[in-house]
């Protein structure tokens, strides 16, 4: 598997049992990994094994199973830490998803530091989950939201962004990769400019994590979030990376068991490190599954995954562009393997139903990005998002189905 010269797509597809099935009598062309990715057998087996052989609650018991379960759960944290090159395990917090990670930072960091008139900078590209938590905390604290713009290609406009920054900017929360149109934002420049202005930066890496190697120490973000189910792990597990000195200063987000040092009715002191932010029984098996998923990806290697996906993106972009009625929304220079498009005279919902009947699973709608849809003046788009297991046949199935849909409606 580590041979850099080969990328055996057929072998990879066999790692994912779902590709053994048909949909509406057609082979499955799954092009909705941006919403949630399929799971390899190794992850499914790890989940089964964790429940059937080693299951017990973590951090609680002195007995064998609880200890084993704790080792596996904490082992998953080390896998994540090494994978994203975080400086310490205390910088890796398990949450239930990226949304919860963002809410944690907005409430705990934002809630304890923002003052009336302080500014939070977001961008037009954001998913609702990186907008609404900030609106909620802005409402509570009197902070103000500013929006960094994009251009018609879907490019993040660095200069305009820099102009928004100033002494009032306290938090910058921007996506690494747009879930709707695939734009890879210039995160390094975004982070550096925010730091120059004295602001703290959260990067939403939900759509970056499946496609590229992440290195927290090179990137320099103060917070970085992603979700497990988009990186071939189970649902119900998310990651929040945070710099240790910031996390130390932040109050807990949720209160409960496992996050305390000492509880009395007069005063409770909190646990240190990641434990402060992991109240209650955590998603134990989900974390274990995530660890296995990350090992699986690294077994293939992001260099090869990236090259494979970029070649699919180029092929799909070229083929879809040949269809006259298709308009591709978002043509940034650096894109992850995500293509949003509309079709003249056919609503995305109708496209979705038609291509589904050809076995092609795509997402249609606003992709939880209504401000971005407003910017492009569309109510919805059809979106094909690719992952390491997609092949050219998937693209061909999509293109044929889109052409047939066009014909049906013309």
């Amino acid at each position: 598997m580590n041979d850099m010269t080969t990328f055996d797509i057929e072998k990879i597809r066999r790692d994912f049992p779902i590709f053994g099935r048909e949909v509406h009598g057609k082979p499955l062309a799954f092009l909705d990994s941006g919403a949630s990715a399929q799971k390899p057998t190794v992850v499914l087996e790890a989940i089964q094994k964790a429940y059937s052989e080693t299951y017990a609650n973590v951090h609680r018991g002195v007995y064998y199973l609880s200890q084993t379960s704790t080792e596996l759960y904490e082992g998953a944290r080390e896998i994540v830490r090494a994978h994203i090159n975080a400086a310490s395990l205390d910088e890796v917090i398990f949450t239930k998803n990226a949304t919860e990670s963002i809410n944690l930072v907005a409430n705990s960091y934002g809630g304890s530091t923002l003052k009336p008139g302080d500014e939070i900078v977001l961008s037009t590209l954001e998913h609702h989950s990186n907008i609404v938590p900030w609106q909620l905390i802005a409402e509570k604290t009197g902070a103000v939201i500013k929006v960094a713009p994009i251009d018609e290609q879907g490019e993040f406009l660095l200069d305009a962004y820099r102009e928004l920054l100033g002494p009032k900017t306290k938090i910058v929360a921007i996506t690494h990769v747009s879930n709707s149109i695939g734009t890879i934002t210039p995160v390094r420049e975004i982070i550096d400019a925010a730091h120059d202005a004295g602001a703290v930066v959260l990067i939403d890496g939900s759509q970056a994590a499946p496609h590229m190697k992440l290195d927290m120490q090179t990137l320099g973000a103060d917070f970085y979030v992603f979700t497990g189910h988009k990186v071939f792990g189970p649902t119900g597990i998310g990651v929040l990376y945070g710099k240790a000195d910031l996390l130390d200063r932040m109050p807990p987000f949720l209160g409960g068991g496992d996050m305390i040092n000492r509880v009395t009715f007069e005063k409770t002191t909190y646990a240190k490190g990641h434990a402060k932010f992991e109240a209650g029984t955590p998603p134990i098996v989900q974390a274990i599954g995530l660890g296995v998923a990350i090992n699986y990806i690294n077994g293939i290697g992001f260099e090869r995954i990236g090259a494979h996906e970029q070649s699919l993106l180029a092929y799909a972009t070229e083929r879809l562009s040949q269809i006259n009625s298709v308009r591709i929304i978002g043509q940034a220079e650096h894109k992850a393997a995500i293509i949003s498009f509309t079709m003249e005279g056919v609503h995305p919902h109708d496209i979705g139903t038609f291509v589904d009947h050809a076995g092609v699973a795509i997402r249609v709608g606003h992709h939880c990005c209504q401000p971005l849809m407003d910017y492009f003046d569309v109510a919805a788009t059809a979106r094909a998002s690719f992952a390491l297991y997609n092949n050219r046949a998937d693209v061909d199935a999509l293109v044929t189905a889109v052409r047939d849909t066009q014909e049906f409606f013309s």
Partner: protein, 151 residues
Amino acid sequence: MFDDLRELYQEVILDHSKRPRNFRHPEDANHEAHGYNPLCGDTVNVYLKMGHNGLIEDAAFEGKGCAISLASASMMTEIIKGRTEDEARKIFDGFKKLVTGEENDFDAGEDTERLMMLAGVKDFPMRVKCATLAWHAMASAMDEKPEITTE
């Protein structure tokens, strides 16, 4: 290809979606409501001109939507025009049951056949809201509740 979709996307539906009837904003409308489907972002504005006796003298709509939602809105405006408020609500009740597959004996008088065209939606649960959006907006307009969502 797509033979199994012919049941849903019948010629009549395609015709209504491409050339929606009563797609306008009548100046003398005295009831209106904005319908919104947060799942897909589709919107519809339904405009009614109601007489004193509960008669729907004019019905029209504007909006963005898929073929199913546009066709349903278009057919609805044709059907309810000239009906009373009570009749329109009764047709909506029956139509709801038809598209959710709750009931197969649908009777809307002379309009039964036309609305049966949309019965195919019952095999596509994700699309039921598309078919009923304009109808919900119509009911809201009559209730004088200007905003509805399908959630």
